[in-house]
Assembly symmetry: C2
Homo-oligomer: 136 residues x 2
């Protein structure tokens, strides 16, 4: 077996200034080695359990927020009942399937905003989020 099976992930964590603990490494592997993903704290915790990774839900919450601060993840607001996190941190938008509460990326330039208002005086635009809400 590869003597340094987690080196990628460990580097990523170090680069972000996060100490590579067992839990962070395991969660980072789940998050970043499966392409672009959308997770909630609950869903990631369940996934970790299935993979026999022992992590508490509190640590999952903490970790998701730390990763978000470190810009390894992006938080997406589509539902006022739950937080979603996206492993795709590039500029893009989302489809949201009401009913199944599922999120899907909309590739970067499939949405074009050709006109935007100027921000109110003294304010800066942090981000523009476009959510296309779908129903059956």
């Amino acid at each position: 077996m590869d003597p340094r099976p987690y080196s990628h992930v460990i580097e990523k964590l170090r680069a972000a200034g996060l100490r590579p603990t067992r839990q962070r490494i395991a969660l980072a592997k789940l998050l970043f080695e499966g392409g672009d993903r959308h997770v909630t704290a609950e869903s990631l915790h369940a996934e970790a359990q299935e993979a026999s990774i022992r992590v508490s839900l509190a640590t999952v919450y903490n970790t998701l927020h730390q990763f978000t601060s470190a810009e390894l993840l992006r938080e997406i607001v589509v539902d006022s009942q739950r937080c979603y996190f996206d492993t795709n941190t590039t500029d893009h938008h989302h489809f949201f399937f009401e009913g199944s509460n599922r999120l899907e990326d909309i590739p970067g330039d499939d949405v074009v905003l050709s006109k935007l208002p100027a921000p109110p005086h003294g304010k800066t635009v942090k981000r523009v989020d476009v959510v296309v809400r779908l129903e059956e």
Copy 2:
């Protein structure tokens, strides 16, 4: 005093198929007689208390959802911790002031989406929400 001081609001409720109870009339007056407004259940409840209207918080929640189903209000998702309701049910978008958690309407055509992706097969677009997130 006007013998039918609430007639407007009462008509509005009846038209929406909602029985005009004391609480609904009072909340509808607060909501619809002050121009375009953004409220949370908590803020509307506080406002009602100040106006000496006796309504429980549970009833405020129920009423906001009934009004939303009846399309007298629109629910806006900008924060995964709280529900916001908007008395402006026309097509428009929002500024969200992170920090003060305040919402402001962006007039209809100050945002132009010149390109949108086709919805996935079998799905219908229910709404497209644009949120411009601001910071100081």
